[in-house]
Symmetry: D2
Subunit: 500 residues, 4 copies
Amino acid sequence: MDHGRDQTGGPREKCGVVGVSLSERSAARPLYYSLYALQHRGQESAGIVTHDGFQQHSHVEMGLVGDVFAEDDLDQLNGTAGIGHVRYPTAGGVNTCCAQPFSVSFKSGSLGLAHNGNLVNADEIRDELEGLGHAFTSTGDTEVIAHDLARNLLEADLVRAVKKTMERIHGSYSLTISHDDVVLGVRDPEGNRPLCIGELDDGYVLASESAAIDTLDGDLVRDVRPGELVVLDRDGTGFDSYQLVDRDNTAHCFFEHVYFARPDSVIDDSLVYEVRRTLGRKLWEESGIETDVVMPVPDSGRAFASGYAEAANGTTAEGEERPEGDDGVEFAEGLMKNRYVGRTFIMPTQDERERAVRLKLNPIKSTVEGKTVTLIDDSIVRGTTSTQLVELLRDAGAEEVHLRIGAPPIVAPCYMGIDMASREELIAAGQSVDDIGEQISADSLSYLSIDAVAEALGESRADLCLGCVTGEYPYDIEGETTDRDVERPQIGDTSLVADD
Amino acid sequence: MDHGRDQTGGPREKCGVVGVSLSERSAARPLYYSLYALQHRGQESAGIVTHDGFQQHSHVEMGLVGDVFAEDDLDQLNGTAGIGHVRYPTAGGVNTCCAQPFSVSFKSGSLGLAHNGNLVNADEIRDELEGLGHAFTSTGDTEVIAHDLARNLLEADLVRAVKKTMERIHGSYSLTISHDDVVLGVRDPEGNRPLCIGELDDGYVLASESAAIDTLDGDLVRDVRPGELVVLDRDGTGFDSYQLVDRDNTAHCFFEHVYFARPDSVIDDSLVYEVRRTLGRKLWEESGIETDVVMPVPDSGRAFASGYAEAANGTTAEGEERPEGDDGVEFAEGLMKNRYVGRTFIMPTQDERERAVRLKLNPIKSTVEGKTVTLIDDSIVRGTTSTQLVELLRDAGAEEVHLRIGAPPIVAPCYMGIDMASREELIAAGQSVDDIGEQISADSLSYLSIDAVAEALGESRADLCLGCVTGEYPYDIEGETTDRDVERPQIGDTSLVADD
Amino acid sequence: MDHGRDQTGGPREKCGVVGVSLSERSAARPLYYSLYALQHRGQESAGIVTHDGFQQHSHVEMGLVGDVFAEDDLDQLNGTAGIGHVRYPTAGGVNTCCAQPFSVSFKSGSLGLAHNGNLVNADEIRDELEGLGHAFTSTGDTEVIAHDLARNLLEADLVRAVKKTMERIHGSYSLTISHDDVVLGVRDPEGNRPLCIGELDDGYVLASESAAIDTLDGDLVRDVRPGELVVLDRDGTGFDSYQLVDRDNTAHCFFEHVYFARPDSVIDDSLVYEVRRTLGRKLWEESGIETDVVMPVPDSGRAFASGYAEAANGTTAEGEERPEGDDGVEFAEGLMKNRYVGRTFIMPTQDERERAVRLKLNPIKSTVEGKTVTLIDDSIVRGTTSTQLVELLRDAGAEEVHLRIGAPPIVAPCYMGIDMASREELIAAGQSVDDIGEQISADSLSYLSIDAVAEALGESRADLCLGCVTGEYPYDIEGETTDRDVERPQIGDTSLVADD
Amino acid sequence: MDHGRDQTGGPREKCGVVGVSLSERSAARPLYYSLYALQHRGQESAGIVTHDGFQQHSHVEMGLVGDVFAEDDLDQLNGTAGIGHVRYPTAGGVNTCCAQPFSVSFKSGSLGLAHNGNLVNADEIRDELEGLGHAFTSTGDTEVIAHDLARNLLEADLVRAVKKTMERIHGSYSLTISHDDVVLGVRDPEGNRPLCIGELDDGYVLASESAAIDTLDGDLVRDVRPGELVVLDRDGTGFDSYQLVDRDNTAHCFFEHVYFARPDSVIDDSLVYEVRRTLGRKLWEESGIETDVVMPVPDSGRAFASGYAEAANGTTAEGEERPEGDDGVEFAEGLMKNRYVGRTFIMPTQDERERAVRLKLNPIKSTVEGKTVTLIDDSIVRGTTSTQLVELLRDAGAEEVHLRIGAPPIVAPCYMGIDMASREELIAAGQSVDDIGEQISADSLSYLSIDAVAEALGESRADLCLGCVTGEYPYDIEGETTDRDVERPQIGDTSLVADD
């Protein structure tokens, strides 16, 4: 599956969030660089909100981080504390209203919110707040959280107010919040989306992925725990932790490791690159096939293919030691990616359509011609690209094309913040693996098992959100099946801010 | 005083508002054309909000009307009802946050607000609402009105809710409001800013100035009355009127007639062009002087100069019938305006500074050389331009330059929605007319009297806001003197929505 | 006829040119300001070429002067000598290739050319040069002149080379030329387009119109004579004159005075504003009619109407002294112009079409309603606008609408550099004045006579280009009649550079 | 060395060229897609010139291919024949004047030229042409070629005219030319820059690299031969070949294979990807070192590292068979590239400088920590990036960092069309490999030998341009040493078009 700015098929992560609190240095540049490091999580809009102790500053615009911020903009974002956000491209055109961070002023000061995830009960809370006279300028979840938090802060301190809000909202959320010049991080009780804490020489940082911390030359402290509130000290010397909500099980999104996250990020204690190599090794073990050459779909399949080939050189497809003289399979690049195919590309006309994929990926004939080929990718969503690639390799002279996928079949949509595809569009929804293989004209097709994924992540199935590969979700979603007894209180159980 | 896009000295009107309700036709184009007609009231941003019965549509951007809306944008603004807004350029750079109409959704639907004016108690109401948990995304008055109205609508019908809000907010406001697909117009109880009603073939329109109605080929019905709420029928067949608040006196802004409004607009029953010609005639009567030629400052002084010259040709400066053979004064253009001097102009360096005014206004030598000249303008704010023009005419060979101004000296700032200048910048603040004349090097200088202004407008002084020429205001402004017993209730007198 | 950025009907001047040579000061800013003053002569592109003694600098772009040049651009245009150009909007979209000044380097240095006018034998010279191996990057006249001049400069000094080129090219041209850091001005032997010389404190300036000289605080020295070459001294202390070509008659374009030029410019010894007032007076004398009110089409008819009204107040339409008590006609503005209707305007749909003109011009009812009206304009091209204005005034209640035009009927196209209209589009081509009046529904219509135009300009008919009002041209144009024995040598008569 | 849009150190290819002649289909889209495929050869400007049999069409602009062309632009580029060009970013800012293709009209029609390379005698030919009266609008080589060709075409047919021009110009050039609707390809007699011929279903294509042919679903026919002129048939059915100039030796640029070209292109009969893998294998053979892990600098070192690791797994560093149980070295990604770091990136402040490289490349700790590392790259120019990467890996915990480079040290600048660096900036100019290793703090550093490069390319040293690694050039360059007896005729030997 293709990573990056491309809009033709891959699932898209909703957002990336950051937060920074420093002793003396302005927070704007560290926020800018960490958003740059998280650009793969959202290319539609970017924004930074800072607070200088007296006043909140905000700069939010449509576009890539590098286009949204000029040097002047950073200079005007005063203050040693702030948060940032990048947002994914929507299908139906740009949507200014929902660019983030969302910022408001209210009785006790100002709030900035950056949100990654998706609430399942936003409408109910919005209705309740509207019933109390609230007016909303957008249709997004984030404004709902902001209003709820602002209300709770009328009568409670910061920690209790956040707790109240966490008890009311349900779904997937990793949040960075600025309350005046105090920066907070919150992760939903199931820990669906990632969020981690980093230490800098002169402060602390919160980020969706640890690669952002690396970019600032900082050290990863640890993941924010599911249900935890982290409050960064104003002076950049530390942070306080509040475990506000507890659940028996987490619902980590395994797709972060398979596709979304950067390979150099550590999420929930696992390095993404190593997880992908392990998934590749398991893929060889589960469904390895001896072919002349193993090649990745660039760039998404590269780590998988590297693990797969490494395992293949150790043991045969039957799992036995390779006999002397058997050099195993060749690992090579067989498809070259044109890195310049971007947003403004003019689509070929109908009769040139088959040539379109050649603009993006071109086979290297010497690696392919007259050979049996195993092509490795991370996942298949609609199947369109896979079909084209198989055809491309055949046209380049491949004798056989076997497809091996480092994740289970995606059979159901994601409701937790990823714009993957609707059920109708998913090639694996209601279709056997054999049928899929036939549809994409591969000589053989195998996916990885769910158990292998859980093993590679070192987590039990019960602690993963597997909705997209099982159709059973760890959250209460209208029209879908739940995979657990949800501890979710009824709306109304928790008054806005009552004694507790 | 110079009218238009220029940013160098003239007072600037805060905004223009419109609202339209049609039987079947889409409201977007009529709103667009009427905003075009009101472009002189605001060049910073433009916006339209419509409602199609199911959903609100909004398009608001920085820029001129012609740049903000493309044909596609209008096509997407569905619905037969909507409102629009143009906003003036601020001193300190563009300010996206406050572009209007402001739109929110709340319990009973959606609201759009377009506001011309300035509240004097917005902060108090904002504080009160924040105390109830409200969070604000901007610092503008309009969001305060929107939130207050949304709260009131929780427990009251539309008319009573508007009444409640009108009883709580104080200051200058002409509002067009869309509540779903119902369009409303509200004018503050003193009627400070203009707002009028027009009838189209297939609907009704509300607009800051009647010229916008003309543009739509409609007929001016009448001004909205101070304290009145006008609700346009959904089907475009009429409107309902509710006189919600009464005051003994109005506080019409006389400067609308002197400077802001288009000459072809009728405001509070007076045609602006005729008022200006009358002011010019009175100027001749009060302080006429016999010179070889009378010339306007283009374009602001033209109507004044035309009235002045007409009167001068009827009677002598002493008010007597002209003797036979006395052809009176010559009325001619003596200064040519370059209509292309715009926003992006590169300012001359210091030593070229004196040449800068020549780019904008160039004397016509034949009209000026060797002659005594009377130069007519509508007003003087800082005096910079007047000084330059007097010097320009002298350089072009004028023997004498007499300046006649069709309004009284501006001695105090405006708090009612016009960004005029601070007291320190006003040349007439704390200085006699003789001293001003000396400062700008005119051979003589005369202003028009306040009484003449009131007469020309056909209103008593008590019904005008004369704050900028007297320093006494019809509203309670901190640090300023009030010119009347304000009927203003204390904050807290009116509960949000109580029985009444 | 409407002046300015509007694209719907008026003739459009091809270009404006300037040239500056200063003692020490950089030429870029004076060139910039003088182009600003000539912006009305071309809004499509703007450019400046300077030379610092070592190197030529050029900045040419599509757009208005204010948009084309940023402060940085001016800073990089080094040198005390240079030329500039503004270009008119073409019908068929922007055309980057032909933006000027055109600059080339050749054997003896570099050339910059800015051209106003139109050659009638450009194709022949181009063919000849191509036969000698020349390759052209554009289709414009200016590159032809540049190549020819470059060739001539191989064997002749500057003055002789220019003379050779002037003997070869035919048609209408006012040129400013930079040959390295020497600035030249050339006017075609018939003096069709204007060009004048101005003196600054520290140098000399050449410009299409004297208003540009005023803008630089300079003094008009005189017009460049037909057939004259003016060479500005490098040190800004003076200029040399060479009368290179002589003709018996000039062919001044009278339309410069009627419409194109700024009222504050002096062209061929006449102040444009005064010429227009005189034309207005003659219009009263030739075809005055007594109505309640006289009003100009703004802004094009204003000076004409002012002269007309002045004359009308002196004598009756029959040319007699006004009796006592007869105050003559009232002179007032009856149509208000919206100065914001610009390029990006979205056109009304078909059924809103009749409302379109209201956006641009709105009648002032008090001046019009129940009155007989005389409407004054400078010229009629297609007649579309005139028809709309007559209808507009009738709708506003005018009892009669009489149209008086300050120029003769335009019956033929212009080939001398003005994009007026084709013969088929001209309302007066092949139609009597009565028929035109009927077509535009005026109660009466009168034009001014050609003789009156010649008198107002103080020139004999033989010295004017009257092609557009007579259909007979002072140049040899294929398919058209010539109004004189053209002294034009045959191509080939003049070798490129021979002894002479 | 880093490939792509980055501007901080890598050499930059001057250009990419294409040409297309089809039977019926419009050439614009195939040209567009092939430019897309060559985007890596130039990101500053892009352009297409077509000819429809009657008229030439041109669209050339600054920017990336995807930004320069909208669908409308392609639609207006009529004709079945045309050429295209992409141009590299210059150091000193964008330079509109030299964007290509360059197009002119002349006696016998129109010419379009797209040029990749650099002439060494352009100034002399320009002087000669200026002496004949030619005027030039730019300072580029291409206009010189165009003028010379236009002159020659006056008296000679196309083939003879091209031959004449080839005999006069010296240096490096691959040209695609359109003469009206005939498309030509020319490669300089030394074949310095690549150019190849491809066959489509309905026509023929010329392109700098075969990957562009693949993109059009075409087949590579062969390279254009050094000194050859290829003329595509108008009807797309074939092409004619003319061997116009012969030399004893070629001077192929080996750097095309090492760095510039796409891995999937075949240049001079060698697939670039395979050449790089071979260079990697030879690098192991020449200077392999046993470390825990081998990792590429992404993306430039990947193919090299893959060959290196493959060889390392076959034999030990001493060239012996690996003993049983010795699994060889691990091949893994140790540096992750952020693909979003683009042009508009705000540079870190001085004290954040060391963090800058982390934005672009982030180490994967698990691959690096506690390990001995071999880092593979293709080349070193200034050495800045290499120094940073070594430091980066050490900071990430690498115990040793050994650098292996798949090309010889670059000791001299390139004059043949690559903007590599000046001699002073080259880290290897006048410094031993040991000193370089020390300067970049590597534990060891080895380059590949020149002989190994020649072997990998299958060419003798005498047929390669090795100027940048030997300081001796195959062309006569002022101030540099020549590596051969240049057959170059004196200027003047060849008259413009004489009998021959």
